[in-house]
Symmetry: none
Subunit: 418 residues, 2 copies
């Protein structure tokens, strides 16, 4: 089943917005064994859109269109659907109810502009939108499928995951071979070192494919395996994954879309441990990541963003003398911060970071990118030095990742000695 993706929006064409929607849709379809041979982007222009609809609907089994469904005059996708399928708009009561509920929840007044979004092309089955006011459309004609979803990313992803992909899976014919894609999430080791540790990669893979995909949090390993049956493919995946884990297991913190905060949150919750975090250079990012998970109050007690020296002394009882002697960015201060936050909050584990994020503020002795992470529990109180780059935001992200990885290793008893 070949799927063609059309993204509508001038902001993508003129490069003001990256096309994350096509990336998300391409990714979720590929993960689910659909083929995406081509995608396109067209502007908010009726003639261009209609021509693109014609081209795509003639040539492909499934067309997914995203964008241009907003309530204002520059959104023309719905009218193009009406023209292209020679249909008309009809008022949909379910959609109107959804829209009214969204507005009543936020206590805002419903305008005629919003109410108009409940008018849907007659030919379309409606895809309800739980996160916004524009409904999606599912059209089945000439044995083909034409699907239209909003361009707002969080509305689009929800509709793809909960409606479009499951429905496409349910209607497709049997597959000839089964492809399985699995991802292993690593952190704390560069791409080239991972590659070297895996040794003879052809022998390891025996025809399967392994992609190394680095980002600011680590390197994702994407393994693609094919088999005649689902069982055969699964067996191959299991075998290769086991070999990989034997070689680099300590660096693998999760699978698929796991984040390191989810992984440590699970361990902390299961063991009924409470944590508190003292941040300087990351400015709250570690606490933000730890509280992104539903139920985080089960394991997260409090955090401080102790940016100034005064805050470090007052809130964490860091020694003024140590700050004067070693500097606020030092292994001693990181250790004292972790010790201090643990003591004042009465938790099981204290985690702390201090560092220089840049782009300015570095010295020859303490350059931009220098970071110390401290961790303390009832038995151990330790700290470790890291060195990152010159980009402030990347440094904050990498530091938060290093701190969460240090927490993971601490919880699982994985040493940093190689």
């Amino acid at each position: 089943m070949k799927v063609y993706i059309i993204t509508i929006g001038d902001e993508i064409l003129i490069g003001q917005t990256l096309n994350t929607n096509a990336a998300f849709i391409g990714n979720i379809l590929t993960q689910n064994q659909f083929e995406v041979p081509k995608t396109s982007v067209v502007g908010d222009n009726e003639a261009e859109i209609l021509e693109e609809f014609k081209y795509a609907f003639e040539k492909y089994d499934v067309v997914i269109v995203t964008g241009g469904l907003g309530p204002t005059h520059d959104d023309v996708t719905r009218n193009c659907v009406v023209k292209f399928f020679n249909t008309e708009l009809v008022n949909n009561n379910d959609v109107l109810t959804d829209i009214k509920e969204i507005f009543s929840r936020s206590g805002r007044k419903l305008t005629p502009t919003n109410e108009d979004q409940a008018n849907v092309p007659k030919i379309a089955e409606v895809i309800r939108n739980s996160r916004g006011t524009a409904p999606g459309m599912w059209i089945h004609k000439n044995k083909k499928y034409f699907i239209v979803i909003p361009g707002v990313p969080y509305e689009m992803t929800e509709m793809m995951e909960s409606f479009v992909v499951p429905k496409l899976i349910s209607i497709r014919k049997d597959l000839k071979s089964v492809k399985i894609i699995t991802n292993l999430q690593t952190t704390g080791i560069p791409e080239s070192h991972l590659y070297d540790r895996l040794g003879n990669i052809e022998e390891l893979l025996k025809g399967s494919k392994l992609a190394f995909l680095p980002n600011q949090y680590g390197v994702k390993l994407r393994l693609t395996v094919e088999g005649l049956t689902e069982d055969e493919a699964h067996d191959k995946v299991t075998e290769i994954e086991q070999t990989i884990r034997g070689l680099i297991g300590r660096y693998i913190y999760g699978k698929e879309t796991d984040t390191i905060e989810e992984v440590v949150a699970k361990i902390l919750s299961e063991r009924e441990l409470k944590i508190a975090v003292a941040e300087s250079c990351t400015g709250g990012l570690i606490s933000h990541r730890l509280t992104n998970i539903n139920g985080s109050s089960n394991y997260y007690e409090r955090g401080t963003v102790t940016y100034s020296n005064a805050a470090k002394v007052e809130l964490l009882k860091v020694s003024e003398d140590i700050i004067a002697e070693k500097g606020a960015v030092s292994i001693d201060v990181a250790r004292q911060m972790a010790e201090g936050i643990k003591a004042v909050s009465g938790v099981d584990i204290g985690l702390a970071v201090t560092g220089i994020m840049g782009p300015t503020g570095g010295t020859a002795e303490k350059p931009v990118g220098l970071v110390f992470v401290g961790i303390c529990d009832d038995k151990i109180c330790t700290a470790k030095e890291f060195r990152f780059g010159n980009d402030r935001l990347l440094n904050k992200e990498r530091t938060s990742q290093a701190a969460l990885e240090m927490l993971r290793r601490h919880l699982l008893g994985i040493s940093y000695d190689e």
Copy 2:
């Protein structure tokens, strides 16, 4: 002059890499008054690429192809060019010299695979590559232009800036008009309400274009104006922007790519004001955003992520009785948190949030999405209620935006009364 952009690469199609190349090319062309009506992405597949070449070269004045020029077996673009233009490869001495120089500079041995990259389709004028081994190609045939450049971003950007764009500018006929794009960033008001407040939009725009681009932080207004001269276009922009500001100015926090944290950071720095932040539900996100800016220690003193009630009482001196009586998520607690963080840290402004981010933890009386933001300075201590949705991460982002907008309005004396 209409330009069509083709990006080649499986990694883009399956969503593992964002198409930053098409965004860059679309942006630089639009800035230079070229029109980009459509772009596409195809995989590393000869048949698909050839079909796409045919479609694009028939329909557009200029085609720019990027990607698939690497030295390994999965890069097929050069062979597709040879087939499509029915030409042959010839060895180019300039390119060979470039390649040899790159290798001698890095001290690496030149392999036959690299040397082969000096073979270029006979029909093409070579675009030298100062940053890599794959040359670009400039083909002029049937009064049309077919341009092929590498997909490695820093090689592509260099070729676009130093060769492709200047050359396209030099060959185009005189421009009939000048186009200017400007962006206004709004927050705190939904797209439909903005639209309604702008009144008769056709009269306002007089032929110019206004796009409404919503995201989790607000709605960006993108204004596109054309004029016969640069002065005329600028005058039109100024006039329309003034009218828009007259109608919805209070919601506009910045221009172009401004973020609200940059805007408040600038005001705080200029006025030499210090801020401290007490967060509950946002878990550190507000502090994270405020410290994303270089030099944030000039205005940011400290923050607390006072998640537990104990932390609110101990660190912020929130009254235990008030928590028991009104609940931790209440307008009184928000106000007391702001008051408390200001007092303990001795800053000019205290900012605080408390709320229920979900997806669980809501009640009929206090549903998921309920948020209170408090702000205090030496004169005023106030708090305000907000209602967001059901998605935890979106709620955190929206709450942080609402708090920073409340800070902006407080600093600028903009009231919430409408």
